[in-house]
């Protein structure tokens, strides 16, 4: 695509970067308010227990302790992002190890910690259930007897008291499709909890100000939604709550939950002083909001020639003890589970289930890495059974542009085949496989293999607002309700302003708004910001531009349509240019423009990803080393190639961790991997050379200048590509993530000789 843009499409570096690397950028834990207290919570040591009594008297007597709160001391309101099932502090029952039972505010953290040790809680253990499949059995303990009374619950009837939500999607009639098949395959796959692994843990400061208003600083990327959730929990009207802007130290989907916000308010209210609560990383790994584990059974019917006749997926997502960290009313997880394959009969049954484990929330492409792992691994297992190359099998079944998707959508300009072909070409998928010399020399029994996986994902939608002002000095200021999660969009938004007003992007000043300053904003996430935030800023920039052009027409008699904005000057052909500042000064004040953008998701537009992993597997130890990884991505206009590539590389790395290493391990409901020594994220030494091919779609997407989305797209197909490469290398089919050496060995041992 040829463009005539100035800044759009340039790999400009981050305007907000210098402040971050010099430490000038402020995060919640950096703020110091006069009289600030430290807040900390006592957490349940049991996965399921009745609280018989709590004795906090010794803690209350400890010098330096300013407040001790239990469930008795605050209203019983249940809170949640949509489903309100979570008590702010447990009162009668605890349902997971790590649930908050009491809270302390003290002069410092050591005193708070000491006070927690003095609180005595008498528990009576209750039968617990940890496996989401067992949770749906008749004998399973019912975890939420009052579920039907909860606000915000899904409308469809509950099949089992532990199933908090259920959805079915599909077309045709799968029974009919299976009747047409020559072969029917059924496999079950399992995936674990994945923690987002952001650097900054959850942190919040609450202060009830002199007017009785709640002032809050919190690393939450959806402040407008949080304001509502706070209001529901603490009983203050929304306009009595102000969430102030603050930097967020990494998100990956995990920073949209309220976490300690309500408790921090109650502590501040009880003490009359500001209270800061920062989770430590043990608490993060024990009780934040990780990605849902899943158990997924796929049944697929195929003809002898490889044509898929029907696919049925039964997906059970393990929500843990509460559903409060999910923003949707119904269940959306697994909606892409069937894969981008042509078929007349498809059905997905997706369940969200309560267990006595950590409540789960959103992480990058929520629901998709789980179901894509299952779906794309089964594709390879079927192809191999049929004696077909997995690439050919995919080509044979892939939806072509103009055809219907397996959920009945009509994707415009669907880029499946060109993107898959590009990945295969770039990766050298069909080239001979050779063990690298350094591995060949180390004594291992290494075999090399390659695997493909594909996925598609929508561009997100929602609402955002922006305002832009230009002053008499030519200073351009952008106001946005979006909080910086570190993904780079503060630079991208400045580029949009720069493009429209002809000023250097890094001279655009950016002022984040509080919740007082705008009506609403959907917040960051869901592959939304470049589209929604981008369009809001684009609209505001166009509005300012139009005002300035009208002003120039008025003042100088220039034809309004011929006014151009370039290099901080405003000009029209054949006339003496004026500086942006000089023109704005003539307005007698600031020239301002604002714009609110609202959108619904376009189901007929998607972004396609094809990935190829090359791995070596040591047949003696089962160890897997990823040698090369290639991503082909269907894109529209790329607004900032450097930021775009960062999302691809980061998504691949996070997918690689999910594939091979990351797992919150449980023993009887207790997470045992409570440090980054035991919860193993990849280090840079685990990252192979990454290759990317961008495949330009003609239609582009809904973002300004025709951009699509990239934040969530690159993660989901990584694990199945690696699993399929392991299968190709040594014939071991690992159906459970992560693909540990031990699981590879088990699969090798269970192979027919």
């Amino acid at each position: 695509m040829t463009t005539s843009y100035q800044t759009i499409g340039q790999p400009v570096s981050r305007a907000e970067g210098p402040d971050k690397v010099t430490g000038a950028a402020l995060y919640t834990a950096d703020l110091n308010l006069p009289g600030l207290l430290a807040g900390k919570c006592l957490r349940s040591p049991y996965p399921h227990a009745r609280i018989k009594s709590i004795d906090a008297s010794a803690a209350r007597r400890l010098p330096g302790v300013r407040a001790v709160l239990t469930g008795q001391d605050i209203p019983e309101n249940l809170v949640g992002r949509m489903l309100r099932d979570f008590p702010m502090l447990a009162k009668d029952v605890v349902r997971f190890v790590g649930q908050k039972v009491a809270a302390v505010a003290a002069d410092d953290l050591d005193i708070a910690q000491h006070a927690l040790n003095l609180i005595e809680v008498d528990y009576e253990e209750l039968p617990a259930v940890f496996d989401p499949v067992e949770a749906l059995e008749a004998y399973a303990p019912v975890l939420h007897p009052n579920f039907m009374k909860y606000a915000g619950r899904a409308d469809d009837p509950q099949e089992h008291p532990n199933a908090m939500a259920r959805a079915t999607w599909g077309i045709g009639n799968v029974a009919e499709g299976f009747a047409q098949a020559d072969y029917i395959f059924e496999h079950t796959f399992r995936t674990p909890h994945q923690h987002q692994g952001y650097i900054e843990p959850h942190a919040v400061i609450a202060q009830v100000d002199g007017q009785g208003r709640l002032q809050m600083w919190v690393n939450c990327k959806t402040p407008f939604l949080l304001r509502r959730q706070l209001s529901e929990g603490i009983g203050l009207p929304q306009d009595r709550i102000r969430i102030n802007p603050i930097n967020i130290g990494g998100d990956f989907g995990g920073k949209g939950s309220f976490m300690d916000s309500h408790v921090a308010y109650w502590l501040s209210k009880a003490t009359g002083r500001p209270v800061r609560m920062v989770m430590n990383y043990i608490e993060e790994l024990m009780a934040a909001n990780p990605r849902h584990p899943a158990v997924m059974t796929f049944k697929t019917g195929v003809k002898r020639d490889g044509t898929i006749t029907a696919r049925h997926a039964r997906l059970i997502f393990d929500s843990g003890a509460y559903g409060a960290f999910r923003p949707q009313k119904g269940i959306t997880y697994g909606i892409g589970a069937i894969g981008p394959y042509r078929m007349e009969h498809s059905q997905i049954d997706s369940y969200l289930v309560y267990t006595n484990k950590v409540p789960c929330g959103n992480m990058r492409a929520p629901g998709a890495p789980q179901s894509t792992f299952a779906s794309e691994c089964q594709i390879d297992l079927i192809a191999r059974e049929l004696g077909m190359d997995p690439y050919q099998f995919r080509l044979h079944n892939l939806v072509r542009d103009g055809e219907e998707s397996p959920l009945g959508h009509h994707w415009r300009n669907f880029m499946g085949k060109p993107t898959l072909d590009a990945a295969v070409r770039e990766a050298g998928y069909q080239a001979p496989k050779m063990t690298p010399p350094d591995l060949a020399a180390d004594g291992g029994d290494w075999k090399v293999g390659r695997g493909i996986a594909v996925c598609e994902r929508h561009v997100g939608a929602g609402s955002s607002t922006a305002k832009i002002s230009v002053d008499g000095q030519g200073q351009v200021t952008l106001y946005t309700p979006l909080q910086d999660t570190g993904a780079g969009f503060y630079t991208m938004l400045r580029q949009v302003v720069s493009e429209e007003l002809g000023v250097p992007y890094n001279e655009v000043s950016l002022v984040p708004w509080s919740t007082d300053d705008a009506r609403f904003d959907s917040g960051v996430g869901g592959s939304r910001v470049t589209h929604v935030g981008g369009q809001a800023v684009y609209g505001a920039a166009r509005a300012v531009r139009a005002k300035l052009a009208a002003l120039a027409a008025d003042l100088y008699g220039w034809p309004e349509s011929q006014v151009v904005f370039k290099e901080s000057m405003v000009a029209a052909a054949g006339h003496q240019a004026v500086s942006l500042g000089a023109l704005a000064a003539r307005s007698g004040g600031l020239v301002e423009g604002d714009f609110t953008y609202d959108s619904e998701r376009d189901e007929d537009l998607t972004c396609f990803t094809a990935q190829v992993a090359e791995v070596a597997v040591d047949r003696e130890t089962g160890q897997v080393k990823v040698l090369n990884f290639t991503t082909a991505q269907d894109v529209g206009t790329v607004l900032n190639p450097q930021a775009h590539q960062g999302q691809i590389d980061g998504g691949v790395m996070q997918g690689l961790g999910y594939a091979l290493l990351e797992e919150l391990k449980h023993e009887d409901g207790r997470i045992s991997t409570l440090t980054f020594g035991e919860y193993k994220m990849p280090t840079i030494a685990d990252i192979p050379p990454l290759r990317t091919v961008l495949v330009q779609s003609q239609s582009g997407g809904p973002s300004p200048y025709g951009g699509k989305a990239i934040g969530e797209q690159p993660i989901s197909a990584v694990a199945p590509a690696i699993a399929n490469a392991v299968l190709d290398a040594v014939g071991a089919s690992v159906t459970q993530l992560p693909i540990t050496a031990e699981r590879v060995l088990q699969a090798l041992r269970s192979q027919p000789a």
């Binding site: 050591d110 003696e620 130890t621 080393k625 440090t675 020594g677 035991e678 030494a685 685990d686 031990e742």
Partner: protein, 292 residues
């Protein structure tokens, strides 16, 4: 982290006196890559931290082909592998010194600290046992004693040091003619990880380089302490170098492994890995002994 007092003595006598003054509430500090993490995480308590990096004997690194190596307990790993004569005489010691943690960690972490931390997974400990290392310990009143490395650790995080005692140095005998050693571990990641299992071996071959004279094998992460698999090593003595002999030693090493199931690995996987790593380290040690 709770507050503690800090002292940095310049002599063994002062260091020992400081340690003795607080009994089990005093901890020696070398690189601090274990101690500071443990103090911050509340897994260890100390009223007094005695920084031993200023004591000359603990910074000694002296090698001669006649007397062997004396390695001060406060010498960081990077100075071990950057020392050319040590690196060429003891490749089996360089293996763990260059894989503990990362470059940054190796700039601080010491072999002495690795021993005194006495983790079952300590990577240098099997290597030192295989190389026949001896620990030189100083106590109060100028008392000293020597403890063979295989007797040093007594439990997870526990060792023979009494309150008030200090590890001064580790001594390795000079490498015998036609000898070689190797340490390997299995970790899920490519670096910065804790051994699921580790094996250190050393072999001495005869002048034909076709027969074992003797061998020593030690294991990491498969018992409450590092394990000296004496029978496995002894089984090779006098035998011709062969796959069958190596396989037999690997079987005996597996029999000496008493691992547990935990989040890092299962009994089955760890025992299996001991077999694989015993074979692989013996093969590398033999190559080194043959100068290949």
């Amino acid at each position: 982290m709770e507050a503690f007092e800090y002292t940095a003595p310049k002599t063994i006598a002062d260091a020992v006196a400081a340690l003795a003054s607080k009994g089990d509430q005093a901890r020696a500090l070398a690189g601090g890559t274990d101690l500071l993490v443990q103090l911050r995480g509340g897994r260890r308590r100390a009223q007094l931290v005695v920084d031993v990096k200023g004591v000359p004997e603990l910074n000694q690194i002296s090698y001669s082909a006649r007397t062997g190596l004396t390695l001060g307990a406060a010498v960081p790993c990077c100075l071990v592998y950057q020392n050319k004569s040590v690196a060429s005489a003891y490749p089996g010691l360089i293996d763990p010194a260059s894989l503990i943690g990362s470059i940054q960690i190796q700039g601080r972490a010491t072999i002495g600290g690795n021993l005194c931390n006495s983790a079952p997974s300590g990577d240098s400990i099997p290597a030192i046992i295989a190389l026949g290392g001896v620990c030189n310990i100083a106590g109060s009143g100028g008392k000293t004693r020597q403890v063979p490395a295989e007797q040093f650790c007594t439990g997870p995080g526990r060792n023979v040091l009494q309150p008030g005692e200090l590890l001064v140095s580790i001594h390795l005998p000079p490498p015998a003619a036609n000898s070689g050693a190797n340490y390997q571990r299995f970790i899920p990641r490519n670096e910065m990880d804790i051994a699921v299992a580790g094996v250190g071996t050393s072999v001495v071959l005869d002048s034909s380089k076709r027969n074992f004279v003797s061998a020593r094998i030690a294991l990491a992460s498969v018992a409450p302490t590092p394990v000296f698999a004496k029978k496995a090593g002894d089984s090779l003595a006098g035998k011709p170098v062969s796959d069958a002999a190596i396989e037999e030693a690997a079987k005996l090493a597996m029999a000496d492994a008493k691992p547990i199931d935990d989040m890092r690995g299962t009994i089955k996987q760890r025992t299996h890995l001991v077999g694989v790593l015993t074979r692989r380290t013996l093969q590398t040690a033999i190559k080194r002994a043959r100068g290949e």
